[in-house]
Amino acid sequence: MKRLLIALMTTTAALSVAASAEAADKLKACWVYTGPIGDFGYSYQHDQGRLAVEKALGDKVETAFLENVSEGPDADRAFERLAREGCNMIFGTSFGFMDPELKAAKKFPDVKFEHATGYKSADNMGLYNARFYEGRYVLGQIAAKESKTGVAGYIVSFPIPEVVMGINSFMLGAQSINPDFKAKIVWVNSWFDPGKEADAAKALFDQGADIIVQHTDSTAALQVAEERKLHGFGQSSDMIKFAPNAQLTSLTDEWGPYYVSRVQAALDGTWKPDNVWLGIKDGAVKLAPFTNMPDDVKAMAEATAKKISEGWNPFTGPVAKQDGTEWLKDGEVADDGTLLGMNFYVKGVDDKLPQ
């Protein structure tokens, strides 16, 4: 037994030496995901980004990842493990990883950290996020054009600023076409429960909505729309395969270009922590091809997307809050700080935010 142990020990020692020797001339980029990469949603899209890095930079990089990492001590351990195993660069892809990642960044000053969707940074920890609300404004416009009942069903996960921002942007887009447009909102309290999302979609359709928008990850709601011969929008990835006749477009996350550029910068030695909020113009927020809609609606959607990519912000005044008080004056543009901490609705949203 003892001999076996020693044999095992030496094998691992030899392996780790080999690994670190290899790591010396390669850059090792690592990812920490909050869900399983098999969710075909948020974590899946980040992993597609990692694969894009492998594809683009070939043998100059080596990648690794940890999936299904819970917030709290498991996250602490995940970052520490990756830093100790020779990762030169670590991407933490979920808000809940902010504090654990910050701790690791302080402990391992030579490792480059990047954190998605949070707000704390450090000398070796940059921030990145995507302006999904830009795409949601376009969805709102399409919904208002395509809906016959003037009511959309909105399936949402949790009341965090990211989600609230999305609802608001969608409503502003819809109201720019039809001022009386309504959205019915159902919180499913989960990022991922296909059955519940399908049930929510059915409930919303039954109550008169004829278009489904979702801020949850599964394809279930869209499949319901397909079955009922109604319409909806995909989320995270292009879900057209699941709903060829129902998907109008899909709001997809494309992290690949960003990840490639950051890893390339690290290879070139030009990496600096940054705080970027990527949008349609950076290719991080992408709308899948517009389908199942008339040409004029398609043209309008494309024009709006183009306008946004040229710098126009959907949160441009005049905008009133839900209770009717003024939020943005005519021509005033919301600042990023307010958006990132958004916890109020704009006028016309038919729901009460948990306070």
């Binding site: 989960s190 296909p194 599964s218 395969k241």
Partner: protein, 306 residues
């Protein structure tokens, strides 16, 4: 009217997997075995059913494979608890653990692939009858299977000799053994039947409810099915009632939200669970009645002495 029919259809789809899995577990528990691995068998059925349907292009083959998958997986539990007389609670829990892990590994290549949905029934002339047409003649095949299953189990347990024998084993395995009844053989068959039902329920999830495969897609439905069995005090028709009540509360809270009722969504989401507790209390309050229906040797290992 249209909306009421639609809501009923939604409730039926949500209740069907609970009903099927619970009906299987009911038979298992009536034989005196407690299998807490329903969630694990269900998810194995879901991945097997989706995989087979996706690879062959036939959702019917998928459904068969789902049933087989659940049955085979439950054999592992049967071997452990019946042949080796291990603790049923612990074995059932590890079965769930194993099922969640294995299904995730098996399903890796199915992620992001649209599956085949079992088509709804469509009988010319009947399905198009207003209101009742869609409810009675226009649902998916698994719905009808679930109703047939309820009738069959109720008939089997209370109207046949074999059913009576099965129940007597659940009440006292020692006296059944003394009468020369092959206790373990009965229990093996009951456990495998339960596994097949759980597998079928899983197949309903990935072939009807949401035709796709994602990890953990059973999302705790196996546990609800377990609760339903006790909730129903081990009576088949009450399982049916319980599954539909649970489905109604489940769908009802979503409708309440869409309707704009200003209650925290977390409270609404917890309603089905709170309702289960309340009904459990109401049902088990009458001690004599529950005692009468509870299989007395539930959960106790049995080793025939020779």
């Amino acid at each position: 009217m249209e909306i009421a029919v639609n809501i009923l259809l939604t409730i039926a789809t949500a209740a069907t997997p609970l009903l099927i899995a619970a009906m299987g577990e009911l038979v298992v528990e009536r034989s005196g075995v407690l299998n807490l691995g329903v969630e694990g068998m269900m998810i194995m059925g879901a991945v097997g059913g989706f995989g087979a349907g996706y690879l062959t292009g036939s959702p019917w083959i998928g459904l068969l494979v789902a049933v087989a998958m659940g049955a085979v997986f439950s054999l592992l539990f049967a071997f452990m608890t019946l042949t080796l007389a291990t603790n049923q609670v612990a074995t059932g829990l590890s079965l769930t653990l194993l099922g969640l892990g294995l299904s995730g590994m098996m399903g890796t290549s199915f992620v992001g692939q649209p599956g085949e949905r079992l088509p709804n029934l469509d009988i010319p002339g009947l399905t198009s009858i207003p209101v009742v047409g869609k409810l009675f003649f226009g649902q998916d095949p698994v719905f009808y299977i679930s109703i047939a299953l309820t009738i069959a189990v109720a008939w089997f347990l209370f109207r046949t000799r074999t059913g009576l024998t099965l129940r007597s084993i659940g009440d006292s395995h020692t006296s059944a053994h003394a009468l020369g009844i092959p206790v373990l053989r009965y229990r093996y068959l009951a456990v495998v039947f339960g596994g097949a039902c759980a597998g079928l329920a899983g197949g309903q999830l990935s072939l009807v409810y949401t035709p796709q495969w994602v990890e953990n897609m059973s999302a705790g439905r196996g546990w609800i099915a377990l609760a339903l069995v006790v909730f129903a005090s081990w009576r088949p028709w009450r399982v049916l009632g319980g599954a539909y009540i649970f489905g109604a509360v489940w769908i009802g809270q979503l409708h309440a939200q869409a309707f704009g009722i200003p209650v925290p969504s977390q409270l609404l989401s917890s309603l089905p669970y709170l309702a289960t507790v309340v009904v459990l209390v109401l049902i088990s309050r009458n001690k004599r009645l529950t005692m009468m229906n509870t299989p007395a040797s539930l959960g106790q290992p049995f080793v025939p002495d020779r």
